[in-house]
Amino acid sequence: MLKNDKLSKKTRMNGFFWILPAFLFLVIIIYYSIFYTFNLSTIEWDGLSPVMERVGFDNFAKMFKDKVFWKCIQNTIIYFAITFVIQNFLGFIFAAILHSDVKLPTVHKCLIFIPTILAPSTMAPVFRLMFSPQGMLQSFFTKAGIPITVDWLSKPNTALFVLMAVVIWEFTGMSFILYYAAMSQIDREVLEAAQIDGAGELRILWTMVFPFCKGTTVSLAMLGVIGALKTFDIPYLITTGGPNHATEFLGTYIYRQGIRQSHLGYAAALSVMLLVMAVVGAFLTNRANKGDS
């Protein structure tokens, strides 16, 4: 027994040497950066000046009083709630449809998934043009005689919804692929048995297929929470966070504070908060998953 333990310890030591490069890489690059950011959050600094002022937790206190910070949180919650529900609903439905006898399934899969692999930086100018009052959508409405003015990006109460539409268009493919893979694991005989017992298509979908895909839904929720907190490219490239912070997210606000206004310490405090929220969000969704299972 003692010998076995000794062997096991030896094996563990051998394993330790093998993971050491990756471990050091992780510690140096990631954890060092996190601690550096935390240290930076207690400093008032423009990023270049030799003068750094230690301000303790002032940047965090300032953050909680900052209306734009709370606007970012509000936008993130709305954005996550709406994009998560619609994106996954569409992804689930598309996956279910493509598991039935659809003609040209590969073509449909490609069409649904292609937006996911397109870079937001490539698509942003297209959407800016599309949603411009002089753009393609306006031309279509004008030609069709529909009295709608496409000035949605210029209005604080509609700009966020335009961005959400873009995100849903772009990432529904991801939900679709994951649900499609999850549905492939379901034993068809179980579904056939339900059909024989008289269950309708919708009932099977809702009471059997959807619960089976719950793990996928939770994973998508976790990715969605982290994605919503990290949102930067689409709002920055399409609206630059405007008008008047109506589409501001933590990512764009960190950039604005750190780069545009050279408040590197405050930007670091916002980054620390983002990290905390991402970890808590991931932890909660993970717990929900474990609880369910």
Binding site: F17, W18, L20, L24, L48, L153, S154, G242, N244
Partner: protein, 466 residues
């Protein structure tokens, strides 16, 4: 034996990773220490390196852009053939993000553009990575160098008593540019007040053309328009407020914010103005002939040159022939009669990086561009900026405009009026926080989420915190 070998290999691999990481960290910390210790860079003449030999430099900036920058370099190389300069351009919005890490790392930046105040590349921030050019300038222009240069070029580029960059040219804002050909075609009166402006916009609108275009999603240009409105209401009050000599809560600014809002409500600003950017969208609409008026400053004068305009029109996806664009005063929308006021800053200045590979050669370039007759004449003739060297002005005999008959007098009168305007900085006196607050207030008032009174209160609050 085999296990020991494997362990040894793992250890070697680990050691190499650690050493590599330490090597990188060492470099970084070295640079950081330079900054942290606040060491001053040696004067240009003291620099080691290939001062009189070949040099290979990188010049970072956002303006005026190709092909002008390459033309400046080519002209510089006629005098300094051994100095190779590569122009590295970013967009206005991305400049700070791109150059800050490059300067912090101390590699790859030899010469870089800075601007006054809170605009991108603000010298107050980036000046800490630039050498002091005072002695070099003194050596080049003599002890009376200050008399030979535009006052703002020195004042706005001096940080803690050191000249951190040499101004290249000033730019003026506060006026509109109009497409004179469209005005002639539709027989529209050039607007001088609110009623005429509305009428002009309505006429163009009826003919499928945007009357006035502004990319109000890009806050800096909103600040220009509002500054012009403030000067229209009460000249000079805006500048006084930025200097703390007047209150933002004064009635002048409430009136000016209400007038700003009225541009959106009265059909002068195009639909969806807050959703588009001045560059590229508004600029493209104007240059492609889809809009008749735009709020731009003296930097737009270069589009009066046929080749420059053609290139910029092509960039705006227009294959039309260049048109006659003319500067006009900001209309008297307050009804006060106060018109013709413009405000100015050094558009950009050339700084030499503390980590430049060859500071002597880099300084030579900065001096050539900002203080030599040859360099400044080139700046003047490109009509991009008004030169900072007082002895230089555009050589109108060498300058051919798109339509001399329509443009010559107007452009010359505009530039003469601009240089004779009183002290009225554009962004030079505005800190980064006030700048952001002003952009927020203008967008908030325009979109109706903030009243004029709330707006001025916010400006006053931010000013007090600065």
């Amino acid at each position: 034996m085999k296990a020991r070998k494997t362990k040894l290999m793992a250890l070697l691999l680990t050691t190499s990773v650690v050493l590599a990481a330490c090597g990188d960290a060492g470099t970084g910390s070295g640079n950081g220490n330079d900054a942290a210790s606040g060491q001053t860079a040696p004067a240009a003449g003291d620099t080691a390196g290939t001062a009189s030999g070949a040099a290979d430099l990188v010049w970072w900036g956002w303006t005026p852009g190709s092909p002008l920058n390459e033309q400046y370099i080519a002209k510089f190389n006629e005098t300094y053939p051994d100095v190779r300069i590569t122009w590295k351009q970013t967009t206005v919005d991305d400049y700070d993000a791109a150059i800050k890490p490059a300067l912090a790392n101390g590699e790859g930046v030899d010469i870089f553009e800075v601007s006054a105040g809170s605009a991108n590349g603000g010298v107050q921030i980036f000046g800490s990575k630039a050498i002091d050019l005072t002695d070099a300038l003194k050596g080049y222009l003599g002890d009376d160098y200050a008399d030979k240069l535009n006052e703002a070029s020195l004042a706005s580029m001096t940080v803690d008593g050191q000249i951190k960059a040499l101004g290249v040219g000033t730019c003026y804002a506060g006026n509109l540019w109009i497409n004179q050909d469209l005005f002639d075609q539709y027989n529209v009166k050039v607007p001088t007040n609110m009623a005429e402006w509305k009428e002009a916009c309505a006429t163009f609108e009826a003919n499928g053309i945007i009357g006035f275009v502004q990319g109000a999603g890009q806050g800096a240009f909103n600040m220009d328009t509002w500054h012009a409105i403030c000067d229209n209401v009460k000249p000079g009050e805006f500048t006084k407020a930025t200097r703390g000599e007047a209150e933002w809560t004064d009635e002048t600014f409430v009136t000016a914010l209400n007038l700003w809002k009225s541009l959106f409500d009265e059909g002068i600003m195009q639909d969806g103005a807050l959703g588009i950017q001045q560059y590229p969208e508004a600029n493209n609409l104007f240059l492609s002939g889809q809009a008749a008026m735009i709020m731009m400053g003296s930097w737009y004068t270069m589009n009066c040159l046929p080749d420059t305009m053609r290139a910029n029109m092509e960039a705006a996806s227009s294959t039309d022939e260049p048109f006659a664009m003319v500067p006009i005063n900001f209309p008297d929308i307050a009804g006060t009669g106060n018109v013709g006021y413009v405000f100015c800053d050094i558009d950009y200045a050339t700084a030499v990086s503390t980590s430049a590979k060859d500071q002597k050669a880099a300084t030579d370039f900065a001096l050539w561009l900002g203080a030599s007759e040859e360099g400044q004449q080139m700046i003047a003739d490109s009509l991009n900026l008004v030169p900072v060297l007082k002895s230089v002005s555009p050589n109108w005999d060498n300058v051919t405009l798109v339509n001399g008959e329509k443009q010559n007098d107007a452009v010359q009168a505009y530039l003469t009026n601009a240089v004779n305007n009183p002290d009225n900085p554009r962004f030079g006196g505005i800190g980064a926080d006030l700048n952001q607050a002003m952009m927020d207030v203008l967008a908030g008032v325009a979109s109706g989420t903030m009243t004029a009174e709330e707006g001025v209160a916010h400006l006053a609050e931010v000013q007090a915190e600065q």
